[in-house]
């Protein structure tokens, strides 16, 4: 029981880690939280569904196209919900992206689902569990783990080795200094939105075969990703990964041993508790209060 819960917690946790990474990158570099983050995930799932089942592409091309599609949504978010509001504060970005999230949700409901319509993505691999010594796992779970590990590693390489990644770090460190040193800050923001959205698209295509697609799925996933980010420390990329995995395990253990309701509720409880007791998170940097 314990091993099974931990294994499935780590699987969902690796998806939360991808979402949390998008939240953290955006918060670090651009200083904002995008409220339509969850809708990017939801749309990523629908894109994958459409390319795979309606356009009859293979899973891998469909997944790649879906990730590109969500990255495009990220660019849209940048141009509509962020760039016109630069210098107007993060609350106006929050409200604008809240508006955008409902716009996207409404569009998705209009095209893909009526009231309460759930679309099921067919399983890609055999639903027969694989026996791994002490526990049995679904092949899809192994794929999710491997793929999200790969994505996390390539993100780390991108962030540390490419010029754009270094620019992002510079912008996150000190935006004024970065601008003085000639970093094209606005282009960095654009890339940040695209990368964050691509990460949520990747989470969506990996998640799709394990779950149902519906227009309201995004918000709860965003909240879980945000909870993971807060748990690990909202300005720490490593924290996002650790927080995501922990978040997945905590909610599985809570649901398994205490009450099934904790599956939904744990993210809210973690956000409230962490923000009040330990706002820096487990791996977050030092706190500085702006006066």
């Amino acid at each position: 029981m314990l091993a099974y819960l931990v294994a499935s917690g780590i699987t969902t946790g690796s998806l939360y880690a991808l979402i949390a990474l998008g939240v953290v990158v955006l918060y670090k570099a651009a200083g904002v939280v995008n409220f339509s983050h969850g809708e990017q995930i939801m749309l990523g799932g629908y894109f994958a569904y459409s390319f795979y089942l309606l356009a009859h592409l293979g899973y891998v091309p469909a997944a790649l196209l879906a990730v590109m599609g969500t990255a495009a949504i990220g660019l849209l978010t940048f141009y509509v919900g962020f760039r016109p509001l630069i210098g107007q504060g993060m609350m106006s970005v929050l409200l604008a992206t809240l508006g955008l999230s409902f716009l996207l949700k409404g569009i998705a409901r209009y095209f893909w689902g009526g009231a309460g319509d759930y679309l099921a993505f067919p399983p890609l691999l055999s639903p027969q569990p694989v026996d791994l010594g002490i526990i049995a796992v679904l092949p899809q779970q192994l794929v999710v783990l491997a793929a999200s590990g790969l994505i996390l590693v390539s993100f780390a390489l991108f962030f540390n080795l490419t010029r754009m990644g270094k620019w992002m770090q510079a912008a996150a460190g000190n935006i004024k200094a970065a601008r003085l040193l000639g970093v094209p800050v606005e282009r960095v923001f654009l890339w940040t939105f695209a990368v964050g959205a691509a990460l949520s698209g990747a989470a969506a295509v990996l998640m799709a075969p394990l779950t149902l697609l519906y227009p309201d799925m995004g918000f709860l996933l965003f909240v879980k990703g945000f909870a993971a980010a807060v748990l690990g420390g909202i300005n720490s990329l490593r924290g996002a990964v650790v927080g995501g995995l922990l978040m997945g395990v905590i909610e599985q253990l809570g649901a398994g041993y205490i009450h099934t309701g904790l599956q939904e509720l744990s993210a809210f409880l973690i956000i409230m508790l962490m923000l009040i007791v330990m706002p820096r998170g487990l791996l977050g940097g030092p706190e500085a209060r702006r006066v």
Binding site: Y27, K28, G31, V32, V33, V80, G81, P84, L85, Q88, G89, M90, M91, S92, L94, L95, A96, L98, G99, L100, F102, L103, L104, K105, G106, I107, R109, Y110, A115, A172, G173, N174, P215, F219, V223, F226, A227, V230, I234, N235, G261, E264, L265, A267, F268, L269, I271, M272, L275, I276, P279, R280, G284, G285, P286, E287, A288, R289, R290, V291
Partner: protein, 335 residues
């Protein structure tokens, strides 16, 4: 001439129209008018908290739900008459709202927004899952309110009760923002450190702001329970929150009159696109987005600039709106 077009006159006109509405309109329109009155109370409360006190909390829809649930449950489980259950419901929301001021002491900006949102979503979850007390996801119905000494049908009685409550709370808010307390809240919004230096106790004033806004939301919830005679968790979720938020953004952050006009306008819009949930979401998303981008001061804010006679308090300037939205982050990134 421009003096005629002042927010006081417009508000008076609106309430006069709402007062005669049940006599000239059919039941459906009267019901919409009643909804508008409830939303006026809701957005007045939220605007006091966000627009005047600068506390960016996202728990208003949950406070609304707590007011409705407390009223309904006190009526059917404790057997209290509506006129005792309703004020008790409003006070329950007020008490829980006051407790939300505690995290607001440590958090601001995005953190406060998300902590209160997490609280609100947890509350909605409790409404839907604590079957023993809240009757679960299906909700419960309440017998119609009895206005027995007065010769009023329940619908009409609730309409005029809502009208009266909305008017009283409007007058209260109108006077509050001009009072010493209202100016203290505005000082706290504009600069916490400066406000503290002026002798404004932040703990007390944050608690007052949260308590007031909780009371408004709770009163609206109590009215809602009486008007619909039915309470279920569905009405108090994220969409409700966005509707109320869009009302104060459309009307104008920090303007008492803005809360009223935004509420009425958006209730009408909500009804116009009611048939399709997807269209409702698209319409509300577009309204919120376009007002943030094009008219961040809201309708009343731009009216005030056009018509010099528009008698809004001077506390809300363009700079103040940008200060509301520019709440500082707690964590400065990347040290």
């Amino acid at each position: 001439m421009t003096r005629l077009l002042s927010s006081r006159n417009c508000l008076g006109m609106l309430f006069a129209i709402l007062a005669v509405l049940p006599m000239i309109a059919n039941l459906y329109v009267t019901f919409i008018g009643n909804l508008a009155l409830i939303y006026i109370v809701l957005s007045l409360g939220l605007n006091l908290l966000i627009g005047n006190a600068g506390q960016f909390a996202l728990a208003h829809a949950a406070m609304y739900g707590i007011g409705a649930y407390a009223t309904g449950l006190l009526k059917i489980d404790a057997g209290l008459p509506y006129f005792i259950a309703a004020p008790a419901g409003a006070l329950a929301a007020c008490a829980i709202g006051t407790l939300l001021a505690l995290p607001a002491l440590r958090l601001s900006g995005i953190y406060l927004a998300l902590a209160t949102l997490a609280f609100a979503q947890a509350a909605v979850w409790v409404f839907g899952h604590w079957d023993a007390v809240t009757y679960g996801a299906a909700g419960f119905s309440i017998p119609p309110v009895n206005f027995s000494p007065l010769p009023l049908r329940p619908e009409l009685g609730m309409y005029y009760l809502s009208w009266l409550v909305a008017l009283l709370l409007l007058v209260f808010a109108w006077n509050l923002v001009r009072s010493r307390l209202g100016r203290a809240l505005i000082a706290m919004r504009d600069n916490e450190v400066a406000a503290q230096a002026l002798g404004i106790n932040l703990l007390r004033h944050k608690a007052i702001a949260f308590a007031l806004s909780g009371f408004y939301a709770g009163a609206a919830g109590a009215l809602y329970a009486g008007v619909l005679n039915f309470v279920s968790p569905e009405g108090f979720g994220l969409f409700q929150l966005v509707i109320i938020k869009a009302m104060i953004v459309v009307g104008g952050l920090g303007y008492v009159a803005g809360s009223v006009f935004g509420a009425v306008l958006l209730v009408v819009l909500l009804e116009a696109v009611r048939d399709l949930p997807s269209l409702q979401e698209i319409a509300f998303g577009l309204v919120l987005l376009s007002f943030m981008l094009l008219l961040p001061q809201g309708l009343v804010g731009s009216l005030r600039r056009r018509f010099p006679g528009w008698d809004e308090p001077r506390h809300v300037s363009k700079a103040a709106v940008s200060r509301i939205l520019k709440a500082p982050a707690v964590v400065e990134v990347g040290r």
